[in-house]
């Protein structure tokens, strides 16, 4: 007689059983009433994080132990060591090391990552169109690694097996001109590719446009150049959409922007209402073909790859990116009332697994 209570669990049976067993109602009395009421009377928890209503990764991540803070990553531009070159150009030199490092990606949840300069995503490299870029890459990790830049460069500098793939303990110097301007990325291109990327070897590579080369779009170009007076009016943030497969079954357990699940839900990104916002959005999520960003209560202009100074999409509130795709979002909360404004992946699955964030508009 074993098994009847097991096979009795399909919904179809429940329905059929209900029809067949008309006389069961009396026996089932107390249970039936409990069924209908239980979920409805469920109380929602109240706490410090009212906006999530229980859907959260409870606890706090130890950013000190991790060695990086997702709030600092937002605006942590690495412009390298600059020195003048003949002909008025600038040489920008960077040092990047790869290593193995365990990081905490949600409270208590450790991930055996591979990292550039101790953090995931790696440093946000920011240069200006036409700069000479020189990166000294050292591999202190346990596997071969490389840096493959999205940009225009020679085959020798491509950072793939056979060209700039660095064995453990080795080093390589990548050198190229920073073109085209835009919102780009870099990542390890050693094989197996999925594993090397999703373990954490990626970062943002932003090339600001050179206003001198674009006389007809001077104002737009200037506003993008870090350190210019026009740029100072903007609030710029880099958001790298990523995910982690903690049990290595080729499906992600945690989704986030800048690695830490719910980091910007628990502590929203503060925005001054009167100043415009520019997001450098990059998708490096593995296993899932696309990721997306949806902004609540507002619309934005979008520059795919950031390689144009006029929007490629105007007045949208959701944008999707395939793996490796990126772009620039521009919007303003000038006419909004202050408060918390959500933004998150519009794949509800990703949002509920950590890629959920808030802007706190003040002023």
């Amino acid at each position: 007689m074993k098994g009847w209570w097991k096979s009795a669990v399909s919904r179809r049976f429940l329905l059929a059983g209900g029809l067949l067993a008309g006389g069961a109602t009396r026996l089932m009395g107390p249970q039936a009433s409990a069924q209908t009421n239980g979920a409805e009377r469920l109380r929602t928890p109240h706490g410090a994080h009212g906006a999530h209503d229980g859907m959260i990764t409870p606890g706090e991540v130890d950013y000190v132990r991790n060695g990086f803070d997702p709030h600092r990553i937002l605006t942590d531009w690495d412009t390298g060591k600059a020195s003048p070159l003949a002909g008025g150009r600038t040489l920008r030199e960077f040092e990047i090391v790869a290593e193995d490092k365990e990081i905490e990606i949600a409270p208590g949840l450790m991930f055996p990552a591979w990292v550039y300069n101790g953090r995931v995503p790696g440093p946000t490299l920011r240069v200006t169109e036409g700069d000479r870029v020189r990166i000294r890459f050292q591999n202190f990790g346990s596997h071969p690694h490389s840096i493959h830049f999205h940009g225009i460069h020679s085959a020798r500098m491509d950072g793939v097996p056979g060209a700039g793939n660095v064995l453990p303990g080795g080093e390589f110097i990548y050198e190229f001109d920073a073109i085209p301007f835009g919102c780009h990325l870099y990542h390890c291109h050693s094989v197996p590719l999925k594993r090397h990327i999703h373990k954490g070897l990626y970062g943002a590579f932003i090339v600001d446009p050179d206003p001198a080369r674009r006389p007809e779009e001077q104002a737009a170009a200037r506003s993008r150049v870090l350190g210019s007076p026009e740029n100072a009016g903007w609030q710029e943030f880099v958001l790298v959409m990523n995910a982690f497969d903690t049990n290595f079954d080729d499906e992600n357990e945690v989704y986030a922007v800048n690695s830490i699940a719910h980091a910007y839900t628990k502590r929203p990104i503060v925005i001054a209402r009167e100043r415009p916002v520019r997001l450098y959005l990059i998708n490096v999520t593995e296993f899932d073909p696309i990721n997306s960003l949806h902004l609540h209560a507002n619309f934005f202009d979008y520059y795919d790859h950031g390689t144009t100074l006029t929007p490629t999409l105007r007045t949208i509130d959701t944008v999707m990116q395939c793996q490796g795709q990126r772009g620039i979002l521009e919007f303003s909360f000038k006419d909004h009332e202050p408060g918390l404004y959500m933004f998150h992946a519009h794949q509800s699955e990703f949002a509920e697994l950590g890629w959920m964030s808030l802007f706190e508009v003040r002023g």
């Binding site: 096979s7 067993a21 979920a39 469920l42 109380r43 928890p45 409870p58």
Partner: protein, 384 residues
């Protein structure tokens, strides 16, 4: 201290010394150094109520385990762990998740440990877990009576008919009892092994069934024959009632657990199915007493012994229940049933000898076959 005791102490001390030396020097370190710990997790109970979802988990593996995040239906959710902190190997803890579950639908839990390992658990049909109210206790008692006590009592009503039908009917009834018990033995073992499979791996569930079965069998044989004679009459009937009682306890556990997990859409026809299925048990218990004239008190005592454990089983199964305890109880039941099979068989053979015949007649074979068949056929009523 005596000499033998001293000599026994030496190897014991050496075992401790060897273990200490092994742990101190850690010779396996170079081989296991960077490997993540082995982690095991068993979900022993699930509770759905107004507060959300609660699960009792039992940790296993090589190191204390930390549950750091919980997903419900692919969404991270707030939760409380009681008691807090890492869960020791074989330790248990309750996780309470304030999740708005939906009655009648399925929910899926994923528990993540600090190493990123994910353990999954499905709630096939969400049904509010009944609280322990007086109403509830009475309701379960009612079901238990219909599953255990009513059929045994009804089966015993065949006693006068069997008694007046003569010696052939007596043999037939005993053989029928053997057939019925054979079915129960197989069924009890299978059910016990199924619970064993659900228990945490560290319990070695199958051992919890087989070894208690063997010991119970041996113990009951010794107890039954301590006066040097094989069992017969009321004593044999009592043994049968005990074996059947433990089996009905197991049946009650399963029904109660099904209620607790919401898996039981237990309609009236299922309860009546159990009643029909268990009627044969009443016939079996009275069979050895056909040559005697027991008083009514004896009958009611036997009904209680065989039938009431079903009520107890449903209570335990629905309110406090772990698979390893069920496996153990069913192992004991299997041992008890095997004992009565042997005793009833010996009794039947003895009776046949007294009458100058063989136990292997068409009547006995037919009786045994009918016993198994009736049980098998009525099992369809409770196998949905």
């Amino acid at each position: 201290m005596s000499r033998p005791l001293l000599w026994a102490l030496l190897p014991l001390l050496l075992i401790v010394a060897v273990a200490a030396a092994f742990l101190a020097s850690d010779p396996l370190g170079p081989f296991t150094g960077s490997a993540p710990p082995v982690e095991q997790l068993t979900i022993e109970r699930t509770v759905l109520d107004e507060e959300g979802i609660g699960v009792r988990i039992r940790a296993g593996g090589s190191e204390p385990m930390r549950i750091v995040q919980v997903q419900v239906d692919g969404a991270y959710w707030a939760f409380n762990q009681d008691p807090h902190g890492p869960i020791e190997r074989m330790g248990t803890a309750w996780l309470r998740i304030p999740y708005p579950w939906v009655a009648g639908e399925a929910h899926h839990l994923t528990l993540l440990t600090s190493t990123g390992a994910a353990f999954e658990h499905s709630i096939e049909v969400a049904v509010a877990t009944p609280g322990m109210t007086a109403e509830r206790v009475n309701f379960y008692a009612l079901i238990g009576l219909f599953v255990g006590v009513v059929p045994v009592a009804l089966g015993m009503m065949f006693y006068p008919a069997l008694r007046s039908a003569g010696p052939a009917a007596f043999e037939f009834a005993l053989a029928l009892t053997i057939g019925l018990l054979a079915f129960l033995l197989v069924d009890t073992l299978a059910e016990g092994l199924e619970f064993a499979g659900e228990a945490a791996a560290e319990f070695h569930g199958a051992v919890l069934v087989w070894i208690p079965a063997a010991f119970t069998f041996a113990l009951l044989m010794v107890l039954g024959r301590r006066k040097g004679e094989p069992l017969s009459g009321i004593a044999l009937a009592t043994s049968i009632a005990f074996g059947i009682g433990v089996h009905n306890l197991g049946e009650g556990l399963a029904i109660g657990a099904a209620f607790a997990t919401g898996a039981a859409a237990l309609g009236s026809f299922l309860v009546i199915g159990f009643t029909l299925h268990n009627i044969t048990e009443g016939i079996g218990i009275t069979a050895p007493m056909l040559a005697e004239r027991p008083r009514l008190k004896v009958f009611s005592g036997l009904v209680a012994l065989a039938g009431l454990p079903a009520v107890l089983g449903i209570w335990i199964g629905s309110f406090a229940f772990s698979a390893h305890w069920a496996a153990l109880a069913l192992g004991i039941g299997a041992g008890a049933i095997l004992q009565v099979i042997i005793e009833v068989g010996a009794y039947l053979a003895r009776k046949a000898r007294e009458q100058g015949g063989s136990w292997a007649t068409g009547t006995t074979l037919g009786g045994a076959a009918l016993g198994v068949l009736v049980m098998y056929a009525t099992a369809f009523l409770i196998q949905v």
